[in-house]
Symmetry: C2
Protein backbone atom coordinates (compact mmCIF):
# COMPACT_ATOMS: atom_id res chain seq x y z
CA UNK A 1 0.00 0.00 0.00
CA UNK A 2 1.28 3.42 -0.99
CA UNK A 3 2.16 5.63 1.92
CA UNK A 4 0.16 8.68 2.77
CA UNK A 5 3.20 10.88 3.32
CA UNK A 6 2.17 12.06 6.74
CA UNK A 7 4.15 14.48 8.81
CA UNK A 8 3.46 16.18 12.10
CA UNK A 9 2.71 19.35 10.11
CA UNK A 10 0.17 17.69 7.82
CA UNK A 11 -1.57 16.04 10.76
CA UNK A 12 -1.68 19.36 12.60
CA UNK A 13 -3.06 21.13 9.55
CA UNK A 14 -5.78 18.53 9.09
CA UNK A 15 -6.71 18.96 12.73
CA UNK A 16 -6.77 22.73 12.37
CA UNK A 17 -9.02 22.56 9.33
CA UNK A 18 -11.33 20.20 11.13
CA UNK A 19 -11.43 22.53 14.13
CA UNK A 20 -12.51 25.44 11.95
CA UNK A 21 -15.16 23.38 10.19
CA UNK A 22 -16.81 21.42 12.95
CA UNK A 23 -15.50 22.87 16.20
CA UNK A 24 -12.45 22.20 18.27
CA UNK A 25 -13.94 19.52 20.48
CA UNK A 26 -14.93 17.54 17.41
CA UNK A 27 -11.25 17.23 16.59
CA UNK A 28 -10.55 13.60 17.42
CA UNK A 29 -7.78 11.27 16.39
CA UNK A 30 -10.27 9.18 14.45
CA UNK A 31 -11.73 12.13 12.56
CA UNK A 32 -8.33 13.50 11.64
CA UNK A 33 -7.23 10.05 10.51
CA UNK A 34 -10.34 9.65 8.36
CA UNK A 35 -9.75 13.02 6.76
CA UNK A 36 -6.22 11.94 5.88
CA UNK A 37 -7.34 8.54 4.59
CA UNK A 38 -5.46 6.68 7.24
CA UNK A 39 -6.10 4.57 10.33
CA UNK A 40 -6.04 6.42 13.62
CA UNK A 41 -3.17 4.35 14.96
CA UNK A 42 -0.96 5.69 12.19
CA UNK A 43 -1.12 9.19 13.59
CA UNK A 44 0.79 8.23 16.70
CA UNK A 45 3.99 8.03 14.71
CA UNK A 46 3.82 11.78 14.14
CA UNK A 47 1.95 13.08 17.14
CA UNK A 48 2.08 11.97 20.76
CA UNK A 49 -1.67 11.94 21.21
CA UNK A 50 -4.75 14.08 21.23
CA UNK A 51 -3.41 16.57 23.75
CA UNK A 52 -0.21 16.99 21.80
CA UNK A 53 -2.21 17.57 18.63
CA UNK A 54 -4.27 20.26 20.31
CA UNK A 55 -1.11 21.95 21.52
CA UNK A 56 0.30 21.91 18.01
CA UNK A 57 -2.89 23.41 16.63
CA UNK A 58 -2.66 26.14 19.25
CA UNK A 59 0.93 26.94 18.28
CA UNK A 60 0.06 26.93 14.59
CA UNK A 61 -2.76 29.36 15.27
CA UNK A 62 -0.55 31.63 17.35
CA UNK A 63 2.00 31.73 14.54
CA UNK A 64 -0.55 32.42 11.84
CA UNK A 65 -2.24 35.11 13.87
CA UNK A 66 1.07 36.79 14.60
CA UNK A 67 2.04 36.78 10.93
CA UNK A 68 -1.25 38.36 9.99
CA UNK A 69 -0.80 41.06 12.59
CA UNK A 70 2.79 41.71 11.57
CA UNK A 71 1.78 42.19 7.94
CA UNK A 72 -1.15 44.40 8.84
CA UNK A 73 0.80 46.73 11.11
CA UNK A 74 4.03 46.94 9.13
CA UNK A 75 4.77 50.53 8.21
CA UNK A 76 1.97 51.95 10.32
CA UNK A 77 2.08 53.98 13.48
CA UNK A 78 -0.20 55.58 16.05
CA UNK A 79 -3.90 54.89 15.78
CA UNK A 80 -3.41 53.44 12.33
CA UNK A 81 -1.21 50.75 13.78
CA UNK A 82 -3.57 50.15 16.69
CA UNK A 83 -6.56 49.63 14.42
CA UNK A 84 -4.64 47.48 11.97
CA UNK A 85 -3.39 45.33 14.84
CA UNK A 86 -6.82 44.89 16.35
CA UNK A 87 -8.58 44.24 13.06
CA UNK A 88 -6.04 41.62 12.06
CA UNK A 89 -6.53 39.93 15.43
CA UNK A 90 -10.29 39.86 15.13
CA UNK A 91 -10.21 38.83 11.50
CA UNK A 92 -8.10 35.82 12.32
CA UNK A 93 -10.52 34.78 15.04
CA UNK A 94 -13.42 35.07 12.61
CA UNK A 95 -11.74 33.19 9.80
CA UNK A 96 -10.39 30.42 12.00
CA UNK A 97 -12.71 29.99 14.97
CA UNK A 98 -11.51 26.49 15.77
CA UNK A 99 -7.83 27.33 15.58
CA UNK A 100 -8.43 30.48 17.60
CA UNK A 101 -10.26 28.57 20.30
CA UNK A 102 -7.31 26.20 20.52
CA UNK A 103 -5.15 29.10 21.71
CA UNK A 104 -7.45 29.61 24.68
CA UNK A 105 -7.03 26.21 26.26
CA UNK A 106 -4.50 26.16 29.07
CA UNK A 107 -2.83 23.18 27.50
CA UNK A 108 0.51 21.67 28.45
CA UNK A 109 2.62 22.28 25.39
CA UNK A 110 5.79 20.36 24.76
CA UNK A 111 8.48 22.89 25.79
CA UNK A 112 10.80 21.83 22.99
CA UNK A 113 8.01 22.48 20.51
CA UNK A 114 7.05 25.78 22.09
CA UNK A 115 10.64 26.98 21.83
CA UNK A 116 10.57 26.50 18.06
CA UNK A 117 7.32 28.39 17.65
CA UNK A 118 7.96 32.09 17.88
CA UNK A 119 4.30 33.07 17.56
CA UNK A 120 3.25 33.92 21.12
CA UNK A 121 6.45 35.72 22.01
CA UNK A 122 6.50 37.76 18.83
CA UNK A 123 2.85 38.66 19.27
CA UNK A 124 3.61 40.34 22.55
CA UNK A 125 6.56 42.16 20.98
CA UNK A 126 4.31 43.44 18.23
CA UNK A 127 1.93 44.77 20.83
CA UNK A 128 4.76 46.69 22.43
CA UNK A 129 5.59 48.00 18.99
CA UNK A 130 2.14 49.42 18.51
CA UNK A 131 2.40 51.23 21.82
CA UNK A 132 5.75 52.76 20.99
CA UNK A 133 4.14 55.89 19.63
CA UNK A 134 2.15 56.64 22.76
CA UNK A 135 5.10 57.52 24.91
CA UNK A 136 4.43 55.08 27.74
CA UNK A 137 7.18 53.82 29.99
CA UNK A 138 7.42 50.77 32.22
CA UNK A 139 5.53 49.55 34.10
CA UNK A 140 2.68 51.33 32.37
CA UNK A 141 3.80 49.83 29.09
CA UNK A 142 3.32 46.28 30.30
CA UNK A 143 -0.01 47.16 31.87
CA UNK A 144 -1.20 48.73 28.64
CA UNK A 145 -0.09 45.73 26.60
CA UNK A 146 -2.07 43.47 28.89
CA UNK A 147 -5.10 45.70 28.74
CA UNK A 148 -5.07 45.75 24.96
CA UNK A 149 -4.63 42.02 24.62
CA UNK A 150 -7.34 41.39 27.21
CA UNK A 151 -9.80 43.60 25.40
CA UNK A 152 -9.10 42.18 21.96
CA UNK A 153 -9.30 38.62 23.15
CA UNK A 154 -12.32 39.24 25.34
CA UNK A 155 -14.23 40.92 22.57
CA UNK A 156 -13.79 38.18 20.01
CA UNK A 157 -14.36 35.49 22.64
CA UNK A 158 -17.65 37.02 23.76
CA UNK A 159 -18.58 37.58 20.15
CA UNK A 160 -17.94 33.92 19.34
CA UNK A 161 -19.89 32.76 22.37
CA UNK A 162 -22.90 34.79 21.26
CA UNK A 163 -22.50 37.27 24.08
CA UNK A 164 -23.59 40.30 22.07
CA UNK A 165 -27.29 39.74 21.69
CA UNK A 166 -28.25 43.40 21.66
CA UNK A 167 -29.37 44.82 18.34
CA UNK A 168 -26.36 47.09 17.90
CA UNK A 169 -23.90 45.39 15.62
CA UNK A 170 -20.67 44.11 17.15
CA UNK A 171 -18.78 45.81 14.33
CA UNK A 172 -19.95 49.23 15.47
CA UNK A 173 -19.06 48.52 19.07
CA UNK A 174 -15.67 47.28 17.92
CA UNK A 175 -14.89 50.48 16.04
CA UNK A 176 -15.88 52.57 19.03
CA UNK A 177 -13.89 50.38 21.38
CA UNK A 178 -10.81 51.10 19.31
CA UNK A 179 -11.58 54.82 19.42
CA UNK A 180 -11.83 54.53 23.17
CA UNK A 181 -8.60 52.58 23.56
CA UNK A 182 -6.75 55.06 21.40
CA UNK A 183 -8.00 57.93 23.53
CA UNK A 184 -7.07 56.03 26.64
CA UNK A 185 -3.52 55.40 25.48
CA UNK A 186 -3.09 59.07 24.74
CA UNK A 187 -4.25 59.95 28.24
CA UNK A 188 -2.94 57.06 30.28
CA UNK A 189 -3.68 57.89 33.91
CA UNK A 190 -1.01 58.02 36.60
CA UNK A 191 -1.36 55.64 39.55
CA UNK A 192 -4.36 56.49 41.73
CA UNK A 193 -4.82 56.66 45.45
CA UNK A 194 -5.53 53.26 46.93
CA UNK A 195 -3.90 51.34 44.07
CA UNK A 196 -1.68 49.48 46.49
CA UNK A 197 -4.63 48.07 48.42
Amino acid sequence: MARAGLTAERVTLAGAELADEVGLDQVTMSQVARRLGVKDASLYTHVRGLEDLRGRIALLAADEKTIGIAEATSGRAGKDALVAFADAWREYAHKHPGRYMATQTPVQIDPELAAKAAGPRRAVELTYGVLRGYGLTEPDLTDAVRLLRSTFHGFVALEAAGGFAHERSPQQSWVRALDALHTLLEHWPPPQEGDSA
Copy 2:
Protein backbone atom coordinates in the same frame (compact mmCIF):
# COMPACT_ATOMS: atom_id res chain seq x y z
CA MET B 1 -30.98 -0.57 47.20
CA ALA B 2 -31.54 2.82 48.79
CA ARG B 3 -31.98 5.62 46.32
CA ALA B 4 -29.39 8.29 45.91
CA GLY B 5 -31.90 11.13 45.80
CA LEU B 6 -30.62 12.63 42.59
CA THR B 7 -32.02 15.74 41.00
CA ALA B 8 -30.95 17.77 38.02
CA GLU B 9 -29.55 20.32 40.47
CA ARG B 10 -27.44 17.82 42.38
CA VAL B 11 -26.08 16.35 39.17
CA THR B 12 -25.23 19.82 37.91
CA LEU B 13 -23.53 20.72 41.16
CA ALA B 14 -21.45 17.56 41.12
CA GLY B 15 -20.41 18.38 37.57
CA ALA B 16 -19.53 21.94 38.55
CA GLU B 17 -17.41 20.78 41.47
CA LEU B 18 -15.65 18.31 39.23
CA ALA B 19 -15.00 21.03 36.67
CA ASP B 20 -13.34 23.23 39.27
CA GLU B 21 -11.23 20.39 40.61
CA VAL B 22 -10.02 18.60 37.51
CA GLY B 23 -10.94 20.81 34.58
CA LEU B 24 -14.03 21.18 32.51
CA ASP B 25 -13.12 18.64 29.85
CA GLN B 26 -12.63 16.01 32.54
CA VAL B 27 -16.30 16.36 33.39
CA THR B 28 -17.76 13.16 31.99
CA MET B 29 -20.99 11.35 32.67
CA SER B 30 -19.04 8.48 34.19
CA GLN B 31 -16.99 10.69 36.48
CA VAL B 32 -20.02 12.59 37.70
CA ALA B 33 -21.84 9.32 38.29
CA ARG B 34 -18.92 7.90 40.26
CA ARG B 35 -18.78 11.02 42.40
CA LEU B 36 -22.46 10.58 43.19
CA GLY B 37 -22.10 6.86 43.88
CA VAL B 38 -24.33 5.90 41.01
CA LYS B 39 -24.15 4.26 37.60
CA ASP B 40 -23.78 6.58 34.65
CA ALA B 41 -27.03 5.42 33.09
CA SER B 42 -28.90 6.75 36.11
CA LEU B 43 -27.97 10.32 35.28
CA TYR B 44 -30.03 10.33 32.11
CA THR B 45 -33.22 10.47 34.13
CA HIS B 46 -32.24 13.95 35.30
CA VAL B 47 -30.11 15.32 32.50
CA ARG B 48 -30.43 14.87 28.76
CA GLY B 49 -26.78 14.09 28.21
CA LEU B 50 -23.30 15.51 28.46
CA GLU B 51 -24.04 18.61 26.40
CA ASP B 52 -27.09 19.38 28.48
CA LEU B 53 -25.04 18.98 31.64
CA ARG B 54 -22.41 21.40 30.38
CA GLY B 55 -25.13 23.90 29.53
CA ARG B 56 -26.54 23.59 33.04
CA ILE B 57 -23.11 24.14 34.56
CA ALA B 58 -22.72 27.24 32.42
CA LEU B 59 -26.06 28.62 33.59
CA LEU B 60 -25.25 27.82 37.21
CA ALA B 61 -21.97 29.66 36.87
CA ALA B 62 -23.61 32.66 35.25
CA ASP B 63 -26.11 32.84 38.08
CA GLU B 64 -23.50 32.51 40.79
CA LYS B 65 -21.24 35.07 39.19
CA THR B 66 -24.10 37.51 38.82
CA ILE B 67 -25.11 37.12 42.44
CA GLY B 68 -21.57 37.78 43.56
CA ILE B 69 -21.38 40.91 41.45
CA ALA B 70 -24.76 42.13 42.64
CA GLU B 71 -23.73 41.78 46.27
CA ALA B 72 -20.39 43.44 45.70
CA THR B 73 -21.75 46.46 43.88
CA SER B 74 -24.88 47.04 45.92
CA GLY B 75 -24.82 50.49 47.44
CA ARG B 76 -21.76 51.61 45.53
CA ALA B 77 -21.39 54.10 42.72
CA GLY B 78 -18.77 55.58 40.43
CA LYS B 79 -15.31 54.08 40.51
CA ASP B 80 -16.17 52.21 43.68
CA ALA B 81 -18.87 50.34 41.84
CA LEU B 82 -16.66 49.72 38.84
CA VAL B 83 -13.88 48.23 40.93
CA ALA B 84 -16.27 46.16 43.03
CA PHE B 85 -17.89 44.83 39.89
CA ALA B 86 -14.60 43.92 38.25
CA ASP B 87 -13.10 42.37 41.36
CA ALA B 88 -16.16 40.23 41.94
CA TRP B 89 -15.99 39.04 38.35
CA ARG B 90 -12.33 38.13 38.57
CA GLU B 91 -12.71 36.56 41.97
CA TYR B 92 -15.40 34.24 40.71
CA ALA B 93 -13.21 33.17 37.81
CA HIS B 94 -10.35 32.43 40.20
CA LYS B 95 -12.46 30.52 42.69
CA HIS B 96 -14.34 28.50 40.10
CA PRO B 97 -12.13 28.08 37.07
CA GLY B 98 -14.04 25.10 35.70
CA ARG B 99 -17.45 26.67 36.11
CA TYR B 100 -16.15 29.89 34.61
CA MET B 101 -14.75 28.10 31.60
CA ALA B 102 -18.14 26.50 31.06
CA THR B 103 -19.60 29.94 30.42
CA GLN B 104 -17.21 30.43 27.52
CA THR B 105 -18.31 27.51 25.41
CA PRO B 106 -20.77 28.46 22.70
CA VAL B 107 -23.07 25.68 23.78
CA GLN B 108 -26.63 25.10 22.69
CA ILE B 109 -28.60 25.65 25.85
CA ASP B 110 -32.12 24.38 26.25
CA PRO B 111 -34.19 27.58 25.70
CA GLU B 112 -36.72 26.58 28.34
CA LEU B 113 -33.91 26.22 30.82
CA ALA B 114 -32.23 29.44 29.77
CA ALA B 115 -35.46 31.33 30.30
CA LYS B 116 -35.57 30.24 33.93
CA ALA B 117 -31.98 31.30 34.58
CA ALA B 118 -31.81 35.05 34.95
CA GLY B 119 -28.03 35.13 35.34
CA PRO B 120 -26.76 36.29 31.96
CA ARG B 121 -29.47 38.88 31.43
CA ARG B 122 -29.13 40.34 34.89
CA ALA B 123 -25.37 40.48 34.55
CA VAL B 124 -25.70 42.81 31.59
CA GLU B 125 -28.21 44.93 33.49
CA LEU B 126 -25.77 45.23 36.37
CA THR B 127 -23.11 46.42 33.98
CA TYR B 128 -25.44 49.14 32.77
CA GLY B 129 -26.03 50.02 36.40
CA VAL B 130 -22.35 50.57 37.04
CA LEU B 131 -22.16 52.91 34.07
CA ARG B 132 -25.11 54.96 35.20
CA GLY B 133 -22.89 57.43 37.01
CA TYR B 134 -20.72 58.21 34.02
CA GLY B 135 -23.40 60.04 32.07
CA LEU B 136 -23.18 58.01 28.90
CA THR B 137 -26.11 57.74 26.50
CA GLU B 138 -26.96 55.23 23.82
CA PRO B 139 -25.36 53.96 21.73
CA ASP B 140 -22.22 54.78 23.70
CA LEU B 141 -23.69 53.04 26.69
CA THR B 142 -23.98 49.71 24.90
CA ASP B 143 -20.51 50.11 23.45
CA ALA B 144 -19.06 50.84 26.87
CA VAL B 145 -20.82 47.84 28.40
CA ARG B 146 -19.34 45.63 25.74
CA LEU B 147 -15.90 47.09 26.20
CA LEU B 148 -15.98 46.52 29.94
CA ARG B 149 -17.23 42.97 29.66
CA SER B 150 -14.67 42.21 26.96
CA THR B 151 -11.83 43.51 29.06
CA PHE B 152 -12.88 41.73 32.22
CA HIS B 153 -13.43 38.45 30.47
CA GLY B 154 -10.32 38.78 28.35
CA PHE B 155 -8.14 39.52 31.34
CA VAL B 156 -9.21 36.55 33.41
CA ALA B 157 -9.18 34.28 30.36
CA LEU B 158 -5.62 35.22 29.46
CA GLU B 159 -4.67 34.97 33.08
CA ALA B 160 -6.10 31.45 33.29
CA ALA B 161 -4.37 30.42 30.07
CA GLY B 162 -1.03 31.55 31.45
CA GLY B 163 -0.83 34.48 29.08
CA PHE B 164 0.87 36.83 31.55
CA ALA B 165 4.33 35.40 31.76
CA HIS B 166 6.07 38.73 32.40
CA GLU B 167 7.41 39.30 35.87
CA ARG B 168 4.96 42.08 36.72
CA SER B 169 2.15 40.59 38.75
CA PRO B 170 -1.25 40.30 37.09
CA GLN B 171 -2.77 41.89 40.18
CA GLN B 172 -0.88 45.14 39.59
CA SER B 173 -1.84 45.23 35.94
CA TRP B 174 -5.43 44.56 36.94
CA VAL B 175 -5.54 47.51 39.32
CA ARG B 176 -4.05 49.80 36.71
CA ALA B 177 -6.45 48.50 34.04
CA LEU B 178 -9.33 49.52 36.28
CA ASP B 179 -7.78 52.95 36.77
CA ALA B 180 -7.54 53.24 33.02
CA LEU B 181 -11.10 52.12 32.36
CA HIS B 182 -12.41 54.55 34.93
CA THR B 183 -10.54 57.39 33.28
CA LEU B 184 -11.79 56.27 29.92
CA LEU B 185 -15.41 56.23 31.02
CA GLU B 186 -15.06 59.75 32.36
CA HIS B 187 -13.67 60.92 29.03
CA TRP B 188 -15.53 58.75 26.55
CA PRO B 189 -14.57 60.00 23.12
CA PRO B 190 -17.10 61.14 20.52
CA PRO B 191 -17.21 59.25 17.22
CA GLN B 192 -14.07 59.77 15.15
CA GLU B 193 -13.50 60.42 11.51
CA GLY B 194 -13.49 57.23 9.49
CA ASP B 195 -15.57 55.29 12.01
CA SER B 196 -18.09 54.37 9.35
CA ALA B 197 -15.47 52.68 7.16
